[in-house]
């Protein structure tokens, strides 16, 4: 029963939260650029407008993968809230991202192909850090279960500070912010058009947008794990991380994918290893 309530809460509350965060994102970004910015609820207006548009698509398989993306992101968020195995959550997230990629690859559009290939490379970049996060949690807790993180009194941040930095690094990739807004992005970048989402429009684009809200809550949820008790501290930590990402987004230009892969596979992984190594010695 308790589980059912949590799942329902995830279904309903997460997109509201994600949409609001996305609205805050747009206001803060605007202020950093010396603009007033849209109203807080603008992302909701956008999505509702998209939902009312005509259904245009290139072929129907695009939609299958978009639904898969949404369903699996919701599933991983629900698993996180239910306290499941962190490693399994990471794998379900990978499946979700793969659905997104296959959605982009399911047309012959060159722009969505480039975006999809880059999204794959983004996966390649953040996946090791996410799995090392799970392993780091295990080394601290002797358990991969998220619910055991909430059972420990001391915040993980104190024992996994460098892993936290690495997670911040991949948070930029997962939120598709500069310098890693490689696969798709809200701003008009000519070389990419809309990247992986180029061929989605109207209600189908709304579906993707909705998924991104869930995903935002999910990745910030991973940050909360670093200060699970009391949970408000974790939420503050996640909001701080969110703010840092916006600053990074606004002070960086987009970099190349090879730079991203090199950075995460060197700095990201070494940060994790040094942190985990300290606890091995």
């Amino acid at each position: 029963m308790r589980e059912l309530v949590i799942i329902l809460l995830v279904l309903v509350a997460a997109p509201v939260l994600g949409g609001l965060l996305s609205g805050i994102d747009r206001i803060i970004t605007a202020r950093m650029q010396g603009r007033v910015g849209p109203p807080l609820l603008q992302p909701f207006y956008d999505v509702f407008k998209l939902l009312g548009k005509e259904r245009f698509l290139v072929n129907q398989r695009q939609v299958l993968w978009a639904i898969g993306y949404l369903a699996l992101i919701i599933t991983s968020l629900a698993m996180l809230c239910l306290g499941s195995d962190l490693l399994v959550i990471v794998f379900v997230m990978a499946f979700a991202a793969i659905c997104f990629v296959l959605g982009g690859l399911s047309t012959k559009s060159p722009y969505s192909h480039i975006g999809s290939q880059r999204e794959l490379l983004q996966m390649l970049s953040y996946e090791p850090v996410l799995i090392l996060l799970a392993i780091g949690v295990f080394m601290q807790n002797q358990s991969f279960l998220v619910k055991d993180i909430f059972a420990r009194p001391e915040p993980l941040l104190f024992s996994l500070p460098l892993v936290f930095v690495a997670v911040l690094l991949i948070l930029t990739i997962k939120m598709r912010k500069s310098p890693f807004d490689l696969s798709t992005c809200h701003h008009a970048h000519q070389e990419l058009v809309q990247g992986i989402t180029t061929e989605y429009s109207g209600p189908y684009l709304a579906l993707i947008e909705l998924t991104h809200w869930y995903e935002l809550v999910l990745v910030l949820g991973l940050v909360v794990l670093f200060w699970a008790q009391p949970i408000w501290a974790g939420i503050l930590l996640a909001l701080a991380a969110f703010f840092i990402e916006l600053v990074i987004d606004n002070i960086c230009a987009r970099m190349t994918w090879s730079w991203m892969v090199k950075l995460t596979w060197s700095v990201g992984i070494i940060l994790c290893l040094v942190n985990l190594g300290v606890y091995l010695i």
Partner: protein, 650 residues
């Protein structure tokens, strides 16, 4: 003879009989019937063995000779045949390696005195039953596929005198030899069956008789003969250090305090033999070369036979080297192959080479699990053996169907196959997704292996990196298949021969159903096989979940069924809620420079010239060079193997 014992005899002798019938039966219809009947019979035999549970079997003699004498004679005959092959092909390495084995075998048989009688020579335990299910069900499906495929193959590549009979001969007899390997308790018998599979793979790889096929077959032969030398040396060392005791797997697994000294060295040699057979680095090239053979051969070598014999031996011996440095180094060697082969797979555009590197990588993962050597790790290894056999068999067979249809095995030629061959594409998609994603079986193994790896940080790191790379090469391929023409998909199912429907359909169904019922698979099949030597399997079932436990606490949990529900709901939602109409279809975005109608894939370029767009995957050829990577990988792997053998001597 009791029924159970009769089943063992059938599992080994029926393939021999069927192979002879295939060889002498000169019509396709006859071979076809034999393949179907043998396949069904073998599958039933393995299911009957499963129903009966573990037992021992000591066959009595034949015509006044003991079976030991028969095996000894057969051993010499086999090595003589391989020696002849080496001389005929003027291949010095094969000749020398065979001569070494002959000399050692003569020494062992005639100069080391009387050996203790081995009773029983066959032990059909839980692990052997799992292996026999894989060999006899998946292997039989591949033989059924093969009888049809090789007939089509000869239409594509006409030959003067049909080579189909000899092809089916070696394909079918392979199953018998594999059954022999997994049932044998006697190391000498195991060695014999081991060498039979080496010979079978040589004959099958060289089937096409062209220069490349012969060269690759010879390479497979000499590399596996290196393993054969290690194997026979191990037997001699064991005979010297275990005087008066039977040279049997049971003896090795029952040593008080595990293997030490010379015995541990002999075990390391057996593990090394397993490495060669499982194409671990630096022996990966023989398996890659094996692709020149017709597709059923690749499917058989990669999924249910040959390479699985190697990992079987490594996993089988695991309790004997538990807690030694050897064990840690086995884990490092396996994990290294897992990582290196995964990276190599990314550089490939040839679908069969991608599959081959992925096989090598997964075998590395299995071997690494054996080296980690905890109950959870061994459970993961056995689970991976099962699920990998299903998915990889499926992928090879569907690649064969694609190759016969489009005349290419290059991924870049498979763009948009979903429109032309929707059924095959969906089957490939099931195969690919079931290789590395939840909720399918392989991922259960991968999950368990990662959870088990945490005590060996270097191994864990290589697992993590390899896991991240794995998604890249699979999705690159699947993405090309999936890229559809603009417009409402026509989805006209293509026609397939009944052989293909049964084998592809059976394996695809197997991949999904085994994933859904992963809890009973782990509970009823895998756990008993691990518990024999490890007291516990480390993985328990709780409701619909698999729970990983160490001695003190629960460390993780995997629940597959809700994910299947989610996927089913997603597919249903797509089917029911989204019904696009023709009027909704729009052309792809080409900056408004599309030529012609909605389904056009060309654009207006300079001087309004129409240019057809072309798409391609990344292969990272500027930063990742296959040949260089192989060289570096081989050097590292050789160092690890020298260390692995070395630590047992020190």
């Amino acid at each position: 003879m009791e029924m159970a014992e009769g089943l063992v005899a059938i599992a080994i002798w029926l393939p021999v009989l069927a192979a002879l019938l295939c060889y002498f039966g000169r019509s396709y219809g006859f071979r076809n019937a034999i393949a179907w009947i043998t396949g069904i019979a073998l599958a039933l035999v393995s299911l009957a063995l499963l129903a009966m549970g573990p037992f021992d079997y000591q066959p009595s003699g034949i015509l006044g000779f003991s079976w030991d004498q028969v095996v000894t004679v057969a051993d010499f005959a086999l090595l003589g045949l391989i020696l002849y092959i080496g001389l005929k092909n003027k291949h010095a390495l094969i000749t020398i390696l065979t001569l070494i084995q002959l000399v050692v075998l003569v020494y062992f048989d005639f100069f080391t005195g009387e050996h203790a009688a081995i009773n029983p020579v066959f032990v059909i335990d839980n692990l052997a039953i799992i292996m026999s299910l894989i060999i006899n069900i998946i292997g039989s499906l591949i033989c059924i596929y093969g009888v049809r495929y090789i007939a089509e193959h000869e239409e594509h590549h006409p030959v003067e005198k049909s080579r189909q009979p000899r092809f089916m001969f070696w394909l079918v007899i392979f199953l018998g030899a594999m059954n022999g390997i997994v049932f044998s308790n006697s190391l000498v018998w195991l060695y014999f069956f081991w060498e039979v599979t080496t010979l079978c793979s040589f004959e099958l790889i060289g089937h096409n008789l062209d220069k490349e096929a012969v060269a690759n077959a010879c390479r497979a032969l000499w590399m596996n003969m290196v393993g054969g030398v290690a194997f026979i040396l191990a037997i001699v060392f064991l005979a010297a250090s275990l005087p008066g005791q039977p040279l049997a797997i049971r003896t090795l697994l029952a040593l008080p305090g595990g293997a030490t000294g010379t015995i541990l060295f002999a075990v390391a040699l057996l593990v090394f033999a397993g490495f060669t057979k499982s194409a671990q680095m630096p022996f990966q090239s023989w398996l890659l070369g094996a692709m020149v053979a017709p597709t059923p051969v690749s499917a058989l070598l990669h999924s249910s036979t040959m390479v699985k014999a190697g990992v079987y031996l490594v996993v089988r011996m695991a309790p004997a080297y538990q807690g030694t440095y050897l064990s840690d180094l086995v884990a490092v060697a396996g994990a290294f192959t897992f990582l290196a082969a995964s990276v190599l797979a990314v550089t490939q555009s040839n679908a069969k080479r991608v599959l081959a590197y992925s096989t090598i990588a997964n075998l590395g993962l299995i071997i690494a699990c054996a080296g980690i050597n905890t109950p959870i790790a061994i459970s993961a290894a056995i689970a991976l053996i099962i699920f990998h056999a299903v998915s990889k068999g499926l992928l090879f067979l569907s690649t064969g169907v694609i190759e016969h249809n489009i005349g290419s095995r290059d991924i870049e030629d498979m763009g948009g196959l979903v429109d032309r061959m929707p059924v095959t594409t969906i089957i490939v998609a099931i195969g690919v997704l079931s290789m590395f994603l939840p909720p399918f079986g392989m991922l259960v193994g991968k999950w368990a292996s990662l959870e088990a790896s945490t005590q060996l940080p270097l191994v864990a790191l290589m697992f993590v990196l390899a896991t991240a790379v794995t998604a890249l090469f699979w999705i690159k391929w699947l993405g090309r298949l999936m890229e559809g023409e603009p417009g409402l998909a026509r989805m006209k199912p293509e026609k397939m021969a009944p052989h293909y429907v049964v084998s592809l359909g059976g394996l695809a169904l197997g991949a999904v159903v085994l994933g859904m019922f992963v809890v009973p698979v782990m509970n009823k099949l895998v756990a008993p096989a691990v518990e024999v030597a490890y007291k516990t399997s480390g993985l328990f079932t709780q409701g619909g979940s698999i729970v990983a436990q160490t001695a003190t606490k629960t460390i993780g949990a995997f629940t597959a069924w809700p994910l299947f529900v989610v996927l089913a709901v997603a597919i249903l939602a797509f089917w029911l809620l989204f019904k696009p109409e023709k009027a909704n279809i729009r052309p792809i975005y080409l900056c408004g420079e599309n030529t012609g109608e909605i389904d056009s894939t060309s654009f207006l370029s300079t001087a309004d010239q129409a240019v057809e767009l072309s798409l391609s995957n990344y292969y990272f050829s500027s930063s990742l060079d296959e040949i260089k990577l192989n060289k570096v990988g081989n050097v590292i792997a050789i160092i690890v193997i020298i260390m692995l053998l070395g630590v047992t001597v020190i």
